[in-house]
Amino acid sequence: MAGVPLDIQLLNLCAALLLLLSFAMLSQRRIVNLVNLLALQGTVLFIATLLIAWRTRQPHLYLSAVLTLALKVMLLPYLLHRLIRRLEVYWDAEPLLNISGTMLIGVLIVVFSFGLAQPISALASTATRNAIGIAVAVVLLSFLTMITRRKAMSQVVGFLSMENGLFFGAMSATYGMPMVVEFGVALDVLVAVLVLGIFFFQIREQFDSLDLHHLESLREDASSRRSE
């Protein structure tokens, strides 16, 4: 570690924090805490983008950082909190696998992601190439979060966390994507959350609950088909 400049140390710290936050999300049952952790992830991403922007002297990355701050730290958590309040869903049901088991699988996933990202890290020329493996790990951990949840809201948070991981991956591998693409992606994410908000109301109206258990009845030989 001798002689590693401060900003690289800080970037490594950001990467480690992202990993920690993903694991924290894996173990949380209160949905409000999940959304707060998502906001924290966004903050760490914001700081990391700022550091990279400062290091590589690329002005468009400052813009990207501001976009991240506005969208991922402020707007999206605000929308999600509002949804939680109006839908009154505060707790998730017991996850499918017990928490200790999920954590162990999470550790295996991290090792696997690093193996997967090895060839890319070897080729990257950025200073943060080691963090690509962490980005892949965050994506896969969010995927695990989505699978082991029962409430629709927690799955959405997992999905958004996956987007965060992809953003960090883009940041550490290629110092971000072209601005036009980043805008498009940000817009897509925002619209997705809005659509989901509408969707949740429809689900709640129909089933009086956001438990996804109710959404598992369509089968191949569905005999309970409505006929109109």
Binding site: M162, A170, P178
Partner: protein, 485 residues
């Protein structure tokens, strides 16, 4: 200028219909905007045929031999579906399954969906391609849940989650692609993601990264094509959404997603010089064909039946693109065209048939010929067409694919033949009692739209008998572009 009209018309339509979509003349407005889009597409086609590959907006958009016919096809099917949707939605309103505010959402989202698909087809920027594909998913999610029943909400949720997660994989693949491109093209910002630029330097792109990128891109966009084992959302979304949406999903969205896959395949094959992309496409394609053929037997809902048929045909097309080479690519492109036309025609008739009988279950639909000969014959002809009976166009393309397979991949031929035979038996066995026999159908309050059905079927018939030279040249040029084999 035609290009601006092409993209601007549906976008304007979405905006206008967001306000006026619940009025009595909204369906006519919908048809009008779709007509304008179609005419712009035709004009653009003529322009491209005479002038060669065109680019717009500083290389951000481009039209070449591959996507020009897809653009026209999309615009055509968009138009005819809008024509079909007019009486169909009127009947749905009469039956009380949908109310006026939902119609506003329906019409504006329909036009928005057309916009996103046209953007996806014409964009040069791989990142924008991703954005457009995701936007296409988002614009149709709320349409799938239009009827607000429990089953449709479940279908919409599955659609959203599965396609969302899949598309996230595609984003990662795009990031990897950008990563590889940056090394060669430099970080010039936007131009590193342009397909035409990448196509020029594809030999220099790092193979390891590209093979990883292709896996993610195939899994991601393949989810939207409906390739097994990622197809779970498809039957539900087709069955639970309104029939015009089933028609455009089957006829258009699957094509556009496959287009994205093939564009990526061209890049990756140029870099890898190995058979990996081809083998992956062939594998997924065959798996889809076999899985769909066997699932066809268990279906009891008419729209689910034809949804699985879509999966099967997309599998055949993917397999053909995997084989590569002039003949297979030609056949695949032809199949994309005729499948799109036939499947949408089938969905049109199936939609009206379900309305007449009051249920989507095939056991409840009987004897369509007695009460409404046009719908009955339409369904019968459409089914025969999709099953590959000559002289319809599907026969021609399937024949070409099978003969190429026998020559180049003989191990796959028995699998394909068996699957096709199984599908034939399943579909024909179901359609026969629906069309003939004692009827349970009722009269519809509004006369059904039958012009689109017969327009599509006659086009398919025409393509089966005779492909005009300019069309054949198109296909050949596109086939050369795709390469491989």
């Amino acid at each position: 200028m035609e290009f601006l009209l092409l993209l601007g018309s549906p976008l304007a339509g979405a905006a206008v219909l967001a306000v006026l979509g619940a009025r009595r003349f909204a369906p006519e407005l919908n048809i009008a905007f779709s007509l304008v889009t179609f005419l712009a597409a035709c004009a653009l086609t003529v322009h491209v045929v005479s002038a060669g590959t065109l680019t717009f907006a500083r290389d951000q958009f481009f039209i070449d031999a591959f996507n020009v016919f897809l653009v026209t096809l999309t615009a055509l099917v968009g138009l005819t579906t809008a024509v079909f949707s007019r009486p169909y939605m009127r009947v749905e309103m009469e039956h009380g399954r949908v109310r006026a505010p939902q119609l506003r959402l329906y019409h504006s989202m329909y036009q928005l969906f057309m916009t996103t698909m046209l953007v996806a087809l014409t964009t040069n920027n791989m990142g924008l391609l991703w954005v457009a594909m995701e936007a296409a998913t988002l614009s149709t999610v709320l349409l799938v849940t239009l009827y607000r029943t429990g089953a449709s909400l479940e279908a919409g949720w599955k659609y959203f989650v599965l396609c969302g997660v899949g598309i996230a994989q595609a984003l990662f693949g795009t990031i990897l692609l950008y990563f590889a491109a940056e090394h060669v093209l430099g970080a010039e910002g936007v131009s590193a993601l342009l397909w035409t630029h990448l196509n020029g330097v594809k030999g220099q792109l790092e193979p390891k990264v590209l093979s990883l990128a292709f896996v993610f891109l195939l899994v991601g966009y393949g989810t939207k094509v409906g390739l097994a084992p990622l197809h779970n959302w498809l039957p539900d979304a087709h069955a639970e959404g309104p029939t015009p949406i089933s028609a455009v999903l089957s006829g258009l969205l699957l094509n556009v997603a496959l287009y994205a896959v093939v564009r990526c395949k061209v890049l990756v094959e140029g870099s890898l010089h190995s058979a990996l992309p081809a083998q992956m496409l062939m594998g997924f394609g065959l798996l889809s064909v076999v899985l769909a053929a066997f699932f066809l037997w268990r279906q009891r809902d008419i729209k689910r039946l034809f949804a699985y048929s879509s999966i099967e045909h997309m599998g055949i097309i993917t397999f053909a693109f995997g084989m590569g080479g002039a003949v297979a690519n030609f056949a695949a492109l032809l199949h994309m065209t005729v499948h799109s036309l036939t499947k949408s025609a089938i969905f049109f008739t199936a939609g009206h048939a379900a309305q007449k009988s009051g249920s989507q279950l095939m056991d409840h639909i009987r004897g369509l010929i007695t009460l409404s000969p046009t719908i009955g014959w339409g369904l019968m002809m459409g089914s025969l067409a999709i099953l590959g009976v000559p002289p319809f166009g599907v026969f021609a393309s399937e024949f070409l694919i099978l003969t190429t397979a026998m020559r180049e991949q003989p191990w796959a031929t028995p699998i394909l033949l068996t699957a096709l035979a199984v599908a034939f038996a399943a579909i024909f066995g179901r359609v026969q009692p629906m069309v003939f026999g004692e009827t349970t159908a009722k009269r519809l309050p509004h006369p059904p739209a039958l012009l689109p059905v017969f327009l599509h079927l006659s086009l398919v018939l025409a393509l089966g008998l005779y492909i005009p030279p300019y069309l054949a040249d198109w296909y050949r040029a596109a086939a050369r572009l795709i390469g491989g084999g």
